[in-house]
Amino acid sequence: MTTMTTSSGPVQVAKPTVASHLHDYWGRVRGGDIGSLPAILGLIVLCLIFGTARPTFFSAVNFANLFSQGAAVIFIAMGLVFVLLLGEIDLSAGFASGVCGAVMAILLTDHGWDWYSAIPVSLVTGLVIGFVLGFLVSKVGIPSFVVTLAAFLAFQGILLVLLSGGKNISIRDKFVLSLANDNMSVGLSWVLAIIAIVGYAAVQFMRLRGRAARGLVTDPMGIVLARIAALAVLLLAAVAVLTQERSINPLIISVKGVPIVAPIIAVVLIVWTFVLGRTTYGRHVYAVGGNKEAARRAGIPVDRIRISVFVIGSFMASIGGIVAASRANSVDPNSGGSNVLLYAVGAAVIGGTSLFGGKGRVLDAIIGGAVIAVIDNGMGLMGYSAGTKFVVTGLILLLAASVDALSRRRAAATGNR
């Protein structure tokens, strides 16, 4: 019997440079791990096309509009990312948002509640809906497609019943209306942007120092600085545009500042990104999405994780419903219907979340939501009918899904999956 010598010492890893980091990234992209890259490139191309065809596309007014137009879909899509990470689907998210919006509107208008009691009830409605869906999927074992398809129809019915056969409930609560329609002051806009940039830089540097202190491989300083600079440029440019005067007649009413909904999106993004990336729960969501059997053997409570993603999905749908009701100033039997669900699923998938589970980020929902908002807005400016917009959005969703499927195949071929 031969005896091998046991040598110790860390696993030999070359210290990455900026060049090797970029090279590795390109290698992953070629290997089928493309993430949000197509969505970001598509977003740039679409902006250039619409901007050249209709110069008003680039106006400050229109840029601000994009936020309020896209917000509701983005919130629902962020919840759907969790559901999609397990390879499940929630087709009822659209009407769930409608039901939650209606619950809030009825409490506010018909019962005279205040926003601070009506909104929590609406959010809890979302949690309950999610729990019921998740329970049916994981404990009873009905495929999520069927459960949520049934819920899709049922919630549409509940919405009609809540609105007593189809009346329209308008919202007059100032706080709720401000969510999707008002802007922050110019000063606050700048302060929040700077806090965000400094916070991001601090997190990046702390991680770098923590890892370096332990002698672990760190990202090259050039890449870290580039990331921080990119965020800074993006945020400062956006704030600079949004703090311009957008009113047609500034003497009567002044409209400027970042829409209130933008920091709400940012906070929700940070919270969920933290949960997915930095907590045990998030790790387990990815594990269940990647290999359910491996997760089960590792002692992860698979059923509880499956219920939880539906709870998060419907909870985010309720936020989307509240924001949609705020933007429309009312709730009607079609709230959360027509294109809302498809736009939300489309946003998550276009952003790079895989329909096969295990791959995706909350940020994807925002990038994909931006693509959809730009298409909707740009084609509207160019005078296309709703019909044409639906066809184009449908085709783009199909394109994103094919990119997902093909990159998965490529990943399998190159041993990346």
Binding site: V217, A287, A298, K359
Partner: protein, 270 residues
């Protein structure tokens, strides 16, 4: 080599309904040694391993671990004793990296935040103690690893938790020549680090390359447990297929003494 077994099974019986799969099976696993567990399909290797790891409960028999009699009822019991099993399908998540896979289900946290630096350091130390130098980065996705590297990660995952006994189910079955050599070298190193290693294998070359002892199961009975250096290739094959070889193995069956022994094993792998 140590004289007292680290893990000792005696008189294990296991039935599934009317089918008795294990009859009075005994097995000794010594620290610092590789014990090869061989036997044909349906001989009861997997059942025995699942009994030891707590997935199945034994009908009868005793388990002695480190000199004390213990009861193993659940996988958690086995894990808390320090018995880890690396299954054939490895159970790794392709979409997670090496560190994430090694700590799956047992993540280190600080407050509510995952303690990534500590986990990465521990994973790196474990791989280094196994002299694994084939991975480029600990943050590589498991999807991008070769079969041998995946096996390495799965084994390292089992070793990470100060385990005392590691049971490997056909670790080389799906590997090429070079990768098989790498994995066998790793198996040897586990034993040299003082662990008790049980290697389930069909491949006689692998068995003779790394094992110190061979335990041969035949139709649910332990035909023989011998030192590898005391037997030949042909004798082990006979033990697997006929249950005995010369004066080794099970006594001749009483009723079938005159006729030909039925060498055909039952088809299903119980």
């Amino acid at each position: 080599m140590a004289a007292t077994p680290l893990l000792e099974l005696r008189g294990i019986d296991k039935s599934f309904g009317p089918v008795q799969v294990l009859h009075d099976v005994g097995l000794s696993v010594y620290p610092g040694e590789v014990t090869a567990l061989v036997g044909d399909n349906g001989a009861g290797k997997s059942t025995l391993v699942k009994c030891v790891s707590g997935i199945y409960t034994m009908d009868a028999g005793t388990v002695t671990f480190d000199g004390n009699q213990v009861a193993i009822h659940t996988p958690r019991d086995a894990a808390s004793l320090g018995i880890e099993v690396v299954y054939q399908d490895l159970a790794l998540c392709d979409n997670l990296d090496i560190v994430q896979n090694m700590f799956l289900g047992r993540e280190k946290v600080r407050g509510i935040v995952l303690d990534e630096p500590t986990m990465e350091q521990m994973a790196g130390d474990t791989l280094a103690s196994l002299s694994v130098r084939t991975v480029k980065s600990l943050r590589q996705l498991v999807a991008s690893l070769s079969g041998g590297q995946r096996q390495t990660v799965a084994i390292a995952k089992a070793v990470l938790w100060n385990s005392r006994v590691v049971i490997l189910d056909e670790p080389t079955a799906a590997l090429g020549v070079a990768q098989t050599a790498q994995v066998l070298e790793l198996v040897r190193r586990l034993a040299d680090n003082g662990l008790g290693v049980v290697l389930i294998s069909h491949n006689m070359n692998d068995v003779f390359a790394v094992s110190d002892r061979i335990a041969a199961l035949y139709l649910g009975r332990m035909a023989a447990q011998v030192k590898t250096s005391d037997v030949t290739h042909a004798q082990v094959v006979e033990l697997i297929t006929a249950g005995r070889s010369g004066n080794l193995g099970l006594p001749p069956e009483k009723p079938a003494a005159a006729g030909f022994a039925d060498l055909t094993p039952p088809g299903a792998d119980l």
